[in-house]
């Protein structure tokens, strides 16, 4: 075995045999996901809510029995209405352009989208049958959606948090306990290169992160939770790797400045937990005050979460990850340099 593979193996075995670490980096976040998934499972509106902007003939002549399945609200502000659709406050916005019935809907919740389309479609057909055949045409338009069904929203968020926790704690704990237990000192006596030690840590952390991802997606896509992955979800793997690097660097700094594992875990928590709250892990930031969104912009976890949401559930293309990827990598480089500055082999 090479130095790299044997050190990686030693780290991985140390991690896998540490039941507490295993629990907190893998099972704990997974539990969160499942709890949230169960709590918010039924969070789709029972009645289909449609926002009507301007006059729409087919709605104005809606039969009484239709009133039971849809609820129509009238509005004059198209832009605000479209924003409501994006956020998921209403299921769709309907308006009329000459003979075209334009239906703006969000694809975030595919079940709701399907329901609202088929309902409106049936109204159009009915109007056509009742009056002049082929008079009205339905023109469905998908809005770029911001609203996400609970599981769609939580999976990338909690996964991001799990990865951040795993990488930060992995790096901080290795560094501190290896320093405290004099293992670093012992390694320093061997001809192993520092880059090999670091690479082993990076490799193991990325491995753990990918394992977390597989587990999360495996659980979340179970029919019970119903996560639906968008087509370019795989691009999130790049984000996950970049995110792992960023949080490894954070962990190395936490590990470099603390003398004991307890201290390191405290600092790591202090860095990651607020990020989870401010960075959109547990609730969407769309309605958060401006200052919070501004703070979130500086946090690597927000970018990891945001990027993963874009490709995993919002259906954006692969290239959409580039800005977030760049930010995460840039963050990693800067913080790693700081970690290198603070690094010590020995605590005496």
């Amino acid at each position: 075995m090479t130095s790299l593979s044997s050190l990686s193996r030693a780290m991985l075995l140390g991690f896998l045999r540490d039941k507490t670490a295993l629990f907190f980096t893998v099972l704990f976040p997974l539990m969160f996901l499942m709890i949230f998934g169960v709590i918010f499972q039924g969070s789709s509106a029972p009645k289909t809510e449609i926002l009507q902007v301007g006059a729409v003939e087919i709605l104005d002549s809606l039969p009484a029995e239709a009133k039971g399945i849809i609820q129509v609200t009238k509005s004059t502000d198209l832009n605000k209405g479209l924003e409501d659709v994006r956020k998921g406050d209403v299921d769709a916005l309907i308006r009329q352009e000459n003979n075209q019935i334009v239906l703006h809907y969000s694809q975030a919740d595919q079940v709701r989208a399907g329901t609202v389309r088929s309902i409106v479609d049936s109204f159009v057909q009915r109007a056509n049958l009742a009056g002049q055949p082929g008079r009205f045409q339905l023109r469905p338009e998908q809005v770029e959606d911001k609203s996400l069904k609970a599981i769609q929203f939580f999976t990338p968020g909690i996964l991001g948090w799990a990865i951040a926790t795993g990488a930060t704690f992995g790096a901080a704990m290795t560094l501190v306990s290896w320093r405290q237990k004099k293992i670093l000192r012992r390694l320093r006596l061997s001809p192993v290169r520092t880059t090999t030690i670091v690479s082993a840590r990076v490799g193991v952390s990325i491995g753990v992160a990918l394992l977390q991802t597989a587990l999360f997606l495996g659980v979340a896509t179970l029919p019970f939770f119903g996560l639906q992955l968008a087509s370019s979800w795989w691009a999130s793997i790049f984000l996950i790797i970049a995110g792992t690097l960023a949080f490894l660097a954070v962990g190395l700094v936490a590990g470099a400045v603390s003398k004991t594992p307890e201290g390191a875990s405290g600092i790591a928590n202090l860095l990651v937990l607020p990020m989870a709250f401010l960075g959109g892990t547990f609730f969407p930031l769309d309605d958060a005050p401006g200052w919070m969104q501004a703070v979130a912009n500086f946090l690597p976890l927000s970018h990891l979460t945001e990027g993963m949401q874009d490709v995993m559930v919002r259906g954006l293309g692969v290239t959409s990850i580039l800005p977030e990827l760049g930010i995460l990598l840039g963050f990693s480089v800067v913080v790693s340099l700081l970690a290198v500055k603070l690094f010590t082999w020995d605590d005496v």
Binding site: T2, S6, R17, R185, R186, P191, R193
Partner: protein
């Protein structure tokens, strides 16, 4: 043969403790060298500077003509180190430990397992390092230091936690590797260990080398009395005092009666004649005495 170690006027200070205070010595290739001294003498600090773990404040240290500081990857494969405090990976078994360390030197797992056997830990191969006894951990640490066949071995109190059997076994092992041409530097508190193993010893205290030479010469050069003890009551204090020569000391401590004498042969034959040999113990000069002689105070190991 060349010099394995050359140390000149080495100094190292921690805060207001002058841990190493102007140490100079040389170790020949193939030599077995010992550093003796009480707790806090500066033995570990001296070794750590030689191993490249610490930077000296001043003075110079060379290993095979190379400086160990800053960390010198060309030197590292040639030396093997057993640290005073053992260091192992967390939650790995004895076998996994030695194999991991061995691989860092490009040593095969088979060779690593062999070393485990040599130090008598084959039956503990699957035990996590955390669960090894103090002496077993010490032996594992020594095995790790030796696995890559280093030319120069540093052992910091290798026998400190060992039972008498393991201690003898380790002595044999160390003699063997020394006989195979490897240089060994060890620290110890035990004169018998130094006497039995070392070609030369340096006696250290307060960061200074007080004396340097072969152990036999150190002890022989010492004009210290031999302590002869017998059971209390086999001879009266008065009779013992009569027996003792001028300058000899007689003392009782509630268990035995001790005569400190420079003519042990005379006293012993007198005691034998009187049939007063019950519980006889004869103790020659030891490190304690060398130390007492050098510093004028008790050895406080």
């Amino acid at each position: 043969m060349g010099k394995a170690i050359v140390v000149q006027d080495l100094k190292k200070r921690y805060g207001d403790v002058q841990a190493v205070d102007g140490v100079s010595f040389e170790v020949e290739s193939g030599e077995f060298f010992g550093i003796l001294g009480p707790n806090g003498a500066g033995k570990t600090t001296t070794l750590e500077i030689l191993e490249g773990l610490r930077q000296a404040d001043s003075g110079s240290a060379e290993i095979f003509g190379l400086s160990p500081w800053p960390r010198n990857p060309r030197l590292l494969p040639r030396i093997g180190v057993q640290l005073q405090a053992s260091a192992f990976f967390e939650r790995l078994t004895a076998r996994e430990q030695i194999r991991t360390f061995a691989s860092l030197y490009g040593v095969s797992p088979a060779k690593a397992d062999e070393m485990l056997e040599v130090v008598g830990l084959a039956d503990k191969a699957n035990t996590p390092a955390e669960k090894l006894s103090g002496g077993q951990a010490q032996r594992l640490s020594i095995a790790i230091a030796l696995a890559h066949g280093p030319e120069l071995v540093f052992l910091d109190e290798p026998t400190a936690a060992l039972d008498p059997q393991a201690r003898r076994n380790l002595w044999d092992l160390l003699r063997e590797i020394n006989a195979a041409g490897r240089t060994v530097v060890l620290t110890t508190h035990y004169m018998d260990e130094a006497e039995s193993l070392c070609d030369r010893v340096a006696v250290m205290d307060h960061g200074k080398i007080l004396k340097l030479g072969s152990p036999a010469v150190l002890v022989r050069g010492l004009d210290s009395p031999t302590h002869i003890s017998v059971e209390l009551g086999v001879i009266s204090l008065a009779a013992a005092k009569e027996l003792a020569g001028p300058g000899d000391e007689v003392a009782e401590d509630g268990i035995s009666l001790t005569i400190a004498t420079r003519k042990p042969a005379v006293i012993l034959s007198e005691l034998a004649e009187r049939g007063a040999l019950a519980g006889l113990q004869v103790r020659g000069a030891t490190l304690e005495d060398v130390f007492l002689d050098l510093t004028g105070r008790e050895y406080r190991a």
